[in-house]
Symmetry: D2
Subunit: 339 residues, 4 copies
């Protein structure tokens, strides 16, 4: 079947390429004409404008929007103006699920279907496939399911979950209709929240290994800094790159994130050129907020988000207050930078 | 080559079986004669006593001790009494690395080698192989390496880390000589600390999904409980079992722990028969303590440990204090149990 | 001057009593006629209806609304219908500052002033006075300042902050004009967030003291539970009530919350009759959300909020998942309840 | 009665001065002869050596040691060599309670008594008095109680805890015999752990207020950074110094730490000259470790300790790993420093 794609960045372009491999056709549009040209060369029908894009799509049209969350509202609105009843808009970007919920209701009044599709897979999806978490009506999902099946990884060579029988369910092929409007991005939001927590678990643990030689450093004694107790137990120079590699086979902490970590450390064991200012793109924040609304404790996920904030210097004012208080009650003076 | 195994529980017995598959021979001993019998039936030489066990081993003897941490000290001591210079004791249990460090030094004075081997793989190791993190002298490691290669998973069908070349390194086969005495269990300790964090990340995220229908519940308004803001955004009934399944393919959070979670939820979607009292077997505690000694922040790992403590009721006294304070300053009265 | 009060609960009634002690007059209204009667007996002019309430106020009217956040919107709307230009509505309840921001803008269009007043002091304010955090226009604040000065504690016998000179500033008397609409409740929100963190700090620390005799309990050894290391160091039976008392004088952790804790423990050392289900009334949640929006890390405040959620059983599903995972990879079975 | 003091730093010297105000006599010793001279001028008997110090004390001698934890062991050992049976050593420094426990047992074999005294009060104790948490035998405590009563703040003008009757108990005067050897420093350790948590609660909350104007900053939109949602709600310029002042009267978060914070901010509103590298002197670390040993969750106390570690750059390696992972799965590039 046919898919229209607006937004030909890394993910949008690769989704188009992946469905064309499976025999589907595509209409591709982007404000950057070069990327349209590239997709045309790869076999898609390039569009010169939003109007051209809509005109080239067969009815009921399926238009996938894959653009930064900040401009999604505007583009969806422009697109909706050009669409007809029964057409389908798919939002595959990293939107807040609340916007999907509101947007779907507004579009439904005009007879336009809306699917929100959380898309995981990063830069690797062209070959690995994308994990798809889909929200919206049953009809719209059913109409687009052949596309989702092509975009998703498929069953692949991953062991079947014990107890599952019969034909592989959609979730065994890497795509899932999670529920009504917003539920796709809700599940994707939580996915990313978990991702933050897992990443922090690895990073903290590897940091403990990294400093396993703390006992080798001579420390001057002072009332301001507690000396390392029993330094004989902290004399290890652990090769972090090798450790992340060995855990990939047979261990309980094996994962794709660990595979990537092993790769990053193998190429750059000292992490040269990386400052450690860790961005966050919203889903982690929204996950904690959703947990708070629901009354669900998320200490690990929150700690991983806050560590990112701190990595960007956002705790400095609080730290200054702590030093000011210590000075006030104990006359403590800050030590100079150590490392 | 030959391996002696003391302790034929799930892991000890399966390690013996796994090396015999590879052509090695084994002497097996346990205080439970039945388990010795089973291993004998599988091809090992059964020992009737520790003395018998030692007598049946070729020199230099390789004796693997795989027993609960609480009795390791005693058994190692008894064993060492019977061994000769140049023999090797391997401790594969979940010991605190500090005990290994001390024990290795004590045994070295008697000419006995000691290797501490962190062993991950749980109940699945017979077929999947065990990930091995090894501490001790170069000589002892070199002598035992053929055994480790058999116990470890081997290269398998896991994609090679980009940038690695030539013959697969030991860490690519699933075993690693991490450094001197204690370093094997140090790395295993951190491995388990990370495991706690990852598990908690999944559990917290899935709990947020589990309560995604919080808006459906009518809540009575009171000054004691804040009502759910904008309940229209919390109307989703998410199928957690399907979500854990769909994430197994193509997503960033794919991992072996997720595979197991999908399996657990598929067989028992409501987690019937599970109370939620989560044990901890020490390594998580030691990891946090090591981080504290090193001055390394581990907020995520610590939060995951504390959640386990709380799951066992260890926060109740603190909670009572909070309610008592609220009553004292605000006259707040506790609400009856809701759910 | 004159104050109108709508909502004669514990705080509303005591604010009225406190200003009348200072020579101000009051009009009092509540849907509960009994409480109106009580205030009338104490010297206020009782109102029988909202209309009567408005009629009894001199222009420009000052109407303080002190009711649960859930019904504030409705009552303010009804009240505003009856007011004239230049009248002033004060919201002293625990509203989300965002509602104040929006409400003030809507009322401003009708020429009605609006002040949001965060009010701390709990059940003790009649005698101690209330700490007031005020948001809104300069004019409205200036008009009402005599009332705020009466409601606030005043300078009292608290040591003056070193470096402060001249006449005591309003903040030294216990009330502060924090900024435009919403800022009063913003500051009160953060106040409560801090309160959560301080309360949790005491509760956690006292719990560590409470279990300082952990070494006295015989524990059975099992692979499921790590035994207490070096039990000789945990043989203390600490008298928590006495400790909370001794810290009240001279220590760095002295505070009003500690005074209240000492009182609660003195009367009820075992905290009998308290279950430990800790409510939260919204401000803690909003503080974390505000921190997330601002990118400010609040690990301590968030941990204290999550501990409250957990005290109400909201982590149980997550805990069950953890046990299910442990069973899946390690065959671990849950231990029976201990304590 | 008579007190011998070894270590005439800020706290040691002021304790001597405080007891002399009450009519007690003192022998003072320090390796720094200048400080001995100063105390002699103030009325103490100065000692020129440890031998001289011991010679000048009446039997049974009471020798208070107030020196850095790192050298306490050595000095106590030297001192004990010179003492006789029934003499009393008091350790008032910030020792780990485990050392007290071991040291008391060793000294008891020689008939020497040992008291561990946790001492809170910082640089303010000369006038305010010191809060004393005391561990050791009943006899030694009883012998020294007159000294403790002088050093402690006394009842003062703090309101009596409701329900307490009769003569003020020792804990109402600011000193408490907590239990056997080690219990004094155990309680002081937890005191400091709580102090960390309270300080962090204030610091985090004030940081949220500090950034309440986040909505005023123009942010460029990018996929790497989530834009501030609803910036209209973050337009407040809050005067943090005034807020910390207003909370001192009538609010639930009033405390001595807040008094000090108000003072620090009043003198230096921008916290100029403070870098925000927050030291820790051991007790916080030991509190978390004790909680872990006991199985008691301390999420707030641990988070406050970890924030101090992070303030000193100890999370940077972990942060680099996070950025490396993000780059690996998503091609995400670090943003340049913002603020």
């Amino acid at each position: 079947m046919q898919l229209g794609m607006i937004g030909l960045g890394r993910m949008g372009a690769n989704i188009v390429r992946r469905i064309m491999r499976d025999g589907h056709t595509a209409v591709a549009y982007d404000t950057n004409a070069d990327t349209v040209k590239q997709l045309s060369d790869d076999g898609a029908a390039g569009a010169e404008s939003l109007e051209d894009f809509v005109a080239k799509l067969d009815k009921p049209r399926v238009a996938w929007v894959m653009i930064p969350a900040g401009i999604t509202d505007k583009v969806v609105e422009q697109l909706a103006e050009l669409l007809d009843e029964d057409d389908i808009i798919i939002n595959g970007g990293n939107s807040n699920y609340r916007e999907d919920f509101d947007r779907a209701a507004a579009l439904a009044e005009r007879g336009i279907h809306y699917l929100d599709v959380g898309t995981s897979g990063g830069v690797w999806g062209l070959d690995r496939g994308y994990c798809l978490m889909i929200g919206g009506s049953d009809e719209a999902f059913a109409h687009c399911e052949p596309l989702f099946a092509s975009i998703a990884p498929g069953v692949g060579d991953i062991d079947r979950t014990p107890g599952r029988k019969g034909d592989p369910a959609p979730e065994e092929q890497g795509y899932l209709h999670c529920g009504p409007a917003g539920s796709g991005h809700f599940v994707k939001m939580v996915h990313n929240g978990i991702e933050y927590g897992m990443m922090a678990a690895y990073a903290e643990g590897l940091n403990v290994l990294h400093k396993a030689n703390a006992g080798k450093k001579e420390k001057t004694h002072s009332a301001e800094e507690t000396p390392l107790d029993q330094p004989q137990y902290y004399q290890y120079d652990i090769d972090i790159a090798k450790v992340s590699e060995v855990w990939r086979r047979g261990s309980v902490v094996a994962s794709w994130l660990l595979d990537l970590t092993a790769g990053a450390l193998n190429g750059n064991p000292n992490l040269d050129g990386i400052a450690g200012r860790v961005s966050d793109s919203g889903e982690g924040r929204w996950t904690i907020k959703a947990g708070i609304d629901e009354g669900v404790p998320t200490p690990v996920l929150a700690a991983s988000l806050f560590a990112r904030f701190s990595s960007r210097g956002e705790a400095v004012y609080a730290d200054k207050l702590l030093s000011a208080m210590r000075q006030a009650f104990g006359g403590h003076v800050e030590l100079p930078t150590g490392e």
